[in-house]
Amino acid sequence: MSVGPDEEPLLAVRDLEVVFHTEREEIHAVDGVSFDIHEGETVGLVGESGSGKSVTARSILGLVDSPGSIEGGKVGFRGDDLTDDNWERHRGDIAIVFQDPSNSLNPVYTVGNQIKEALRIHQGLRGNEATDAAVGLLEDVGIPDPRRRVEEYPHQLSGGMQQRAVIAMALACDPDLLVCDEPTTALDVTIQAQILDLLADLQREEDLAILFITHDMGVIEDATDRVNVIYAGEIVERAPTGTLFSEPAHPYTEALLRSIPGRTNAAERLPTIEGEVPTPTGRAEDCRFAPRCPYAFAECHEMPPEHVDVGAERSAACLLHEDGSEEAAERTVFDGSEAVSGGDSA
């Protein structure tokens, strides 16, 4: 869905900071994350485990519990800052779909019951009206024989159907923004294809904006219009999806793309990233990817990189793209097909 850059974004996250205070340390799970979502578009947030993407999703909905709390930044929804205790005002405008549907559905209530609960809270429907609406929602998400299914319990549905039911629940509040936190990770690939098709259809029909969070680069490529790559609590690159995959600007994105088995010849070794994802225990004082980056130089370890525009509607937080940097003069935008040393450390 093409969108003019002058339009107000539906969701504007600015410098979000979420910190977890445990007995031993302070973890800055989300450390200065900013991104926009406009109406009717699908934005991806991709990162590995420990990157902070799930925490970001939860903080948009105000679901961050102790020992974590939002300690900085704002989450702007239609202009209101949600972090200013505005969650309740916008309940129903944002809905979330979690990863494991068997965890999202209460096993002792029927599917219909749970959808009707959402309908009652957000649309005030009751009784037969609510049942009809629930059946309609199940139909919208593609569950066959909805009149029967509405009376069934979650365990009687397969994984894919359960996830559809969860999406139906999310749609019950007629949201403007649907946050999907790894919605297809627990599903088989053919069912995943169905769910992705469903989400695309729903977006068209209901004019939904979707925030799609996952670690699966392939899904991101197919399902999103724009992508944010998150690493150790920070967004390192933003770009329209196609461009990100053909011309990654940040070394982490490049390395991530290379690690995908499908992109390497079967006879060759898979390229790997040395080192491990750091746990951010304080505000960033340097580039968090520097210890693992094949292109790192001295300044990378001294100052945290700021986002720099690297093209049309895209930016990357990497010193290589800073104007005036020597290394930048040597390489501008990476070519996704370049082969860097493959191989891992023991």
């Binding site: 485990s49 790894e182 491990e276 891992d344």
Partner: protein, 477 residues
């Protein structure tokens, strides 16, 4: 694999081997009271064996007698509480102090020793953990740390500890002994100051008891912390029979503890084994055991007890601990079902974990799997339910003794003390029922508190993986 240290931070002594110092302290402590420890162990075994038709019973009695000869630091000889008031001063007392105070000092020193000993054990553990253990951190450490901060649990631990000390050091703690005051009261004599005759007189203990009975509001009654007419100090007063209540209580505690431990130990053993077997094999085995345990649970425990006690009375089985052994067996035999039920859930959960599959995949034997891979995960629950059941066992024994069904007289038992004093509750001899009652409440609460503390320390939540599925993905290689 001990690491070498030049300086050990935290130890006050500039020594190269804190372990040696710790061991030396331990040796000293042990030498001081070793006799009492041995006495406890041998005494318990002796009570168990003397009435069984097993050979070696005579051997045990001989050992018991020998053990009593071992000199101990805090014994009746070192800090005696006899002596008398001759109208103007204390004669023949410990350091010229009133006998009551002497007793108090001895009791306090016993408890002081016990706490020092406990401190020594804790010190040893911390030393081991800090200096000598190869692993930097084990899962147990988290549990121990959590327990340390749990006030209610610590309270429970202290109460239980004091109870155990009471049981172990019973012969030393009482102002007199069971033998002298109760069992062979007509074979022992005491000397006392007769204020009328202005001279030291001798009388049989039994006679003295008769003159010190607490029956309601009678003038001879002896209330807690009082001396009787014969110059004897009674910290808890006397019973209606004139016997010393404190001695009665401390020796009864030994019985309660031993029977409690026996029955809970047996119960736990049966329950844990069956739970592991049911969880490992699942299916029909589990179903069969559920049916069996339901059947056992359906049996009325009290009726069974009465029946068995009657049937077995007169046999050697009923002689052990004056019927206490039979009680323990019956409790174990009927009580394992509750623990089994509680353990079955956690055991089934553990059986689903993938490391069990992994062990099976390389051909590990079932018994070893149960022991190594399942048992450590239910010991926590075992401790929790075990400590609570122990409290329950003590109450049950007391209750049964109160009803006259449990421990046969004249063996001391707390419940019986309550029974003995029940007629006098509203009179001047209120202490006879009240004190044992309060003690039972305190001890059982202590056990429950300990169980609470252990349960919170175990905290299975922290064992589980994070609930965020995506975070369950492994990062880093």
């Amino acid at each position: 694999m001990a690491r070498a240290h030049e300086t050990t931070s935290g130890t006050l002594l500039p020594t190269n081997s804190p372990a040696a110092v710790w061991a030396a302290i331990g040796a000293v402590l042990f030498a001081a009271q070793g006799g009492a420890f041995f006495g406890f162990v041998v005494g318990v075994l002796g009570d168990l064996l003397t009435v069984t038709p097993l050979p070696g019973a005579a051997f045990v009695t001989a050992v018991e007698a020998a053990v009593e000869q071992i000199p101990t630091l805090l014994s009746r000889d070192v800090i005696p509480n006899d002596g008398y008031w001759n109208g103007s001063r204390w004669v023949g007392t410990f350091l010229g102090l009133p006998p009551g105070l002497a007793w108090g000092i001895r009791a306090a020193l016993v408890y002081l020793y016990a706490f020092v000993f406990a401190g020594w054990v804790i010190l040893g553990y911390r030393l081991y953990r800090r200096e000598y253990r190869t692993a930097d951190w084990t899962p147990r450490d988290d549990m121990v740390d959590r327990f340390r901060g749990h006030k209610w649990g610590i309270f429970g631990l202290v109460v239980v500890f004091m109870f155990v000390v009471m049981a172990v050091f019973a012969p030393v703690l009482g102002p007199t002994t069971v033998d002298e005051n109760m069992r062979n009261s007509y074979s022992n004599e005491i000397t006392y100051w007769d204020s009328d005759a202005e001279a030291v007189q001798t009388t049989l203990v039994g006679e003295a008891n008769l003159a010190s009975q607490s029956r309601g509001d009678n003038p001879e009654r002896v209330l807690p912390m009082e001396y009787d007419d014969f110059g004897r100090f009674h910290p808890f007063g006397t019973l209606p029979s004139g016997q010393d209540l404190f001695t009665f209580i401390v020796s009864g505690s030994r019985l309660s503890l031993v029977i409690g431990l026996l029955s809970v130990g047996l119960s736990a053993g049966i329950a844990a084994s069956l739970a592991l077997v049911a969880a490992y094999y699942k299916g029909r085995t589990d179903l069969g055991l559920v049916l069996a345990s339901d059947s056992v649970m359906a049996m009325p425990q009290l009726l069974l007890l009465i029946m068995l006690t009657t049937v077995l009375s007169g046999t050697w089985l009923a002689e052990i601990y004056s019927g206490g052994f039979v009680l323990a067996l019956i409790f174990a035999g009927t009580g394992w079902t509750y623990m089994w039920r509680s353990l079955r859930g956690p055991a089934l959960q553990v059986a689903e974990r993938q490391w069990i599959d992994a062990a099976q995949s390389f051909g590990q034997r079932p018994l070893t799997i149960m022991r190594k891979h399942m048992l450590p995960y239910i010991t926590g629950y075992l401790l929790i339910y075990g400590s609570m059941t122990l409290g329950g066992a003590i109450i049950s024994i007391a209750g049964l003794s109160y009803l006259g069904l449990g421990i046969a007289p004249p063996t001391p038992e707390w419940g019986r003390a309550i029974n003995l004093g029940q007629d006098y509750v509203a009179t001047g001899s209120w202490h006879i029922s009240l004190i044992p009652g309060l003690l039972i409440t305190l001890v059982v609460t202590g056990f429950n508190a300990l169980g609470d503390g252990v349960r919170d320390a175990i905290d299975p939540q922290s064992d589980a993986t994070t609930e965020d599925g995506a975070a369950g993905r492994g990062g880093g290689a």
